[in-house]
């Protein structure tokens, strides 16, 4: 089976009379393999939403090639849309309708039986408030309704843009479980999020975008490993002397508040052996492995939005 999403050289320039042209995407590439949760990360204004909207036919691309579920888009979008569920940015619904009516109208539009509405209301945990008006919903409930609308089609590809916005910790966990269920059922999830810890927990692979270009992509473990500099955190009784010993032995040492950061070492036993040779005894030796947040910050050179 081929890739679920293939984007090659995607370009988009917004033109406004007031502000002139602004390049949102500058030859962006992305590949999403089937049966995965694929994280899509990038700072604000990096082109994430433009990419998703372009994929879904809401924004006209300025150039490049896109295929979704094996079909060229936007040309064959009408054919693949019934197989794609999407939530783009903030949940968008008419406030005076109830959640149930909102979903039923969408189901009628898509020729989906109304019993599916009850199923998805159950899945997202909105059954008890389904007859309330949407404007009375909290942000989290609207988010659930948005996800419910995306699930109505029993999609093969689920595109979620910041689905955890407004959700409490329990809601975030439910959302995570839901994505796992969707993937277990054979679908693929493309997840755009700022909550990097969440992405690291749930995603099989990621694409990171900055300034409209892909800066890295691949399985999460590979992306993290690519940024691993072989750093260790070392605690000793006499850090000043230990630093001098390690530096003399060829390591790069950076003193921190109550420990040393040793870089450029492949074998942690070398640190223990070198220091022990000078009667310096290691109290703690921990490899510093990069997390997604630090990789993100390093690659995008932007402050990440914290969860």
């Amino acid at each position: 089976m081929g890739s679920v999403i293939e984007i090659e050289g995607l370009r988009k320039t917004y033109r406004t009379l007031l502000h002139g042209p602004r390049q949102a995407l500058d030859g962006f590439d992305m590949v999403v393999e089937p049966g995965q949760v694929h994280g899509f990360l990038g700072p604000n204004g990096s082109g994430k939403t433009t990419t998703l909207r372009t994929l879904l036919g809401l924004v006209r691309p300025g150039g490049g090639r896109m295929r979704v579920l094996g079909q060229p888009v936007p040309h064959a979008l009408a054919a693949v849309t019934p197989r794609i569920g999407a939530v783009v940015e903030s949940p968008q619904f008419f406030g005076n309708f109830s959640g149930r009516r909102t979903l039923r109208l969408l189901a009628t539009t898509g020729g989906i039986p109304h019993r599916r509405v009850e199923e998805v209301l159950d899945i997202v945990g909105l059954h008890g408030r389904a007859n309330d008006r949407v404007k009375a919903y909290s942000l989290g409930m609207r988010q659930r309704l948005a996800v419910a609308s995306a699930l109505l089609k029993s999609p093969e590809l689920l595109i979620l843009d910041e689905p955890a916005n407004g959700l409490d910790p329990a809601g975030i966990r439910e959302m995570r479980d839901l994505m796992r269920d969707v993937v277990a059922a054979g679908a693929t999830v493309l997840l755009s999020s700022h909550i990097l810890g969440e992405v690291q927990q749930i995603c099989d692979s990621v694409t990171i975008i900055a300034h409209g270009r892909r800066v890295t992509a691949g399985p999460v473990a590979d992306v993290l490993a690519s940024q691993d500099k072989g750093e260790f955190r070392v605690k000793v009784d006499d850090p000043a002397r230990a630093a001098a010993v390690l530096a003399e032995a060829g390591a790069v040492v950076r003193p921190a508040e109550d420990h040393l950061v040793v870089t450029g070492v492949t074998d942690p036993a070398w640190v223990t052996r070198t220091l022990a040779g000078q009667d310096l005894w290691v109290a703690e030796l921990t490899p510093i492995t990069p997390d997604l947040e630090s990789v993100f910050l390093q690659l995008t050179d932007e402050p990440a939005v914290s969860a």
Binding site: L56, A86, T109
Partner: protein, 337 residues
């Protein structure tokens, strides 16, 4: 078809639509109440007294006519005080007295006659339906743009032309349905009013004429709904259409009328959309060109001129084509950001 069904359900599920429907109903009820209060069916005593009054008026009129003829045939002597000569100066056309003979109906108390008042009341229904169509049409897509409903819809139906047309189609079906139902209700109400407060008698020709007025009224409502929808879609906001409507009234109807009046322009009504609406509803309208009235000391000899129903249809179709074409083009091309 699924889209039209869903959008039709959405149209009538919207609170604004329901409020507007009730609003039109209340206004119609208000008109009906005024008719009920200010009219009543003549009793036999009313008819008798009206007949006597008409006979008396006829006698007085014949006497006046005779007096006029006598006054015209005499040559008044200088200094004579002939009351007939004073009342009917030389050259007065005595037939003016008999041109409009009084009938019993002139002396009956106000009563509501469906045949006479029906067309104007159906034109009033048309005006209300047009207002309803414009506001509901504008809100139907404008509020959906504001709330993000259009974005959600496009995630289900990415082909924009069918979405734009489907929503418009469901709107027009809705307005047509409302127009037909309200027309039937209005006719039934007027018939009951006429039966109790006047005369409900209608010849086949009068009934056909009333039906044609109603068709024109509903057509006007459909055009108004389309324009409201198209302008609102263009601005992606209900306020765009409402603002355009207010601007149109202030700039083109009031402002232009004042400026053309100051310029003493010939046939100023031809530049006003309201003239064409009026001509459409009344199957052609006559206007008096006053620009000739200020040219000399002689009495005004202005010219009557006419806007035909065909001319107003041409203006309406042109407006419709331009507005819908621009709106649809914009809907197809613009990014949803």
């Amino acid at each position: 078809m699924k889209l039209i069904r869903a959008e039709l359900a959405r149209l009538f599920a919207r609170r604004f639509t329901r409020i507007a429907l009730v609003g039109v109903l209340l206004l119609l009820a208000g008109i009906a109440t005024v008719i009920w209060i200010t009219n009543h069916k003549p009793t036999p005593a009313d008819r008798l007294s009206a007949h006597i009054a008409a006979e008396q008026a006829l006698t007085e009129r014949n006497a006046a006519y005779q007096q006029c003829v006598d006054a015209q045939s005499r040559t008044p002597s200088p200094g004579a005080t002939d009351s007939g000569a004073k009342q009917f100066p030389p050259g007065f056309d005595c037939h003016q007295i008999t041109d409009y003979p009084s009938t019993d109906a002139d002396f009956l108390p106000a009563s509501f006659r469906l045949a006479a008042a029906g067309p104007d009341l159906f034109r009033a229904l048309g005006a209300l339906l047009a207002l309803f169509g414009f506001a509901v049409g504008a809100s139907f897509i404008g509020a959906e743009w504001s709330s993000g409903g259009i974005l959600t819809l496009l995630l289900w139906r990415p082909n924009r032309t069918p979405v734009w047309l489907g929503k418009l189609g469901s709107l027009l079906l809705g307005v047509l349905g409302v127009g037909v139902v309200y027309s039937v209700l209005w006719y039934a109400t007027l018939w009951v009013l006429a039966d109790n407060r006047g005369s409900s008698a209608l010849t086949a020709g009068a009934l056909r004429s009333l039906a044609l007025v109603d068709v024109r009224a509903i057509t006007l409502a459909l055009v108004a709904a389309t324009v409201g929808y198209a302008v609102s879609a263009l601005g992606r906001n209900t306020a765009t259409a409402l603002g355009a409507a207010v601007a149109w009234v202030v700039i083109f109807e009031v402002g232009t009328r004042i400026i053309l009046g100051l310029m003493n322009a010939a046939r100023p009504e031809r530049w006003l959309l309201s003239s064409y609406v009026q001509a459409w509803l009344t199957n052609g309208a006559r206007f008096f060109d006053e620009s000739k009235c200020h040219n000399g000391p002689d009495p005004c000899v202005g010219v009557w001129w006419r806007i035909s129903a065909q001319q107003s249809a041409l203006v309406g179709v042109t407006l419709l084509v331009v507005v819908t074409a621009v709106s649809l083009y914009s809907f197809r091309r613009r990014d949803v950001t």
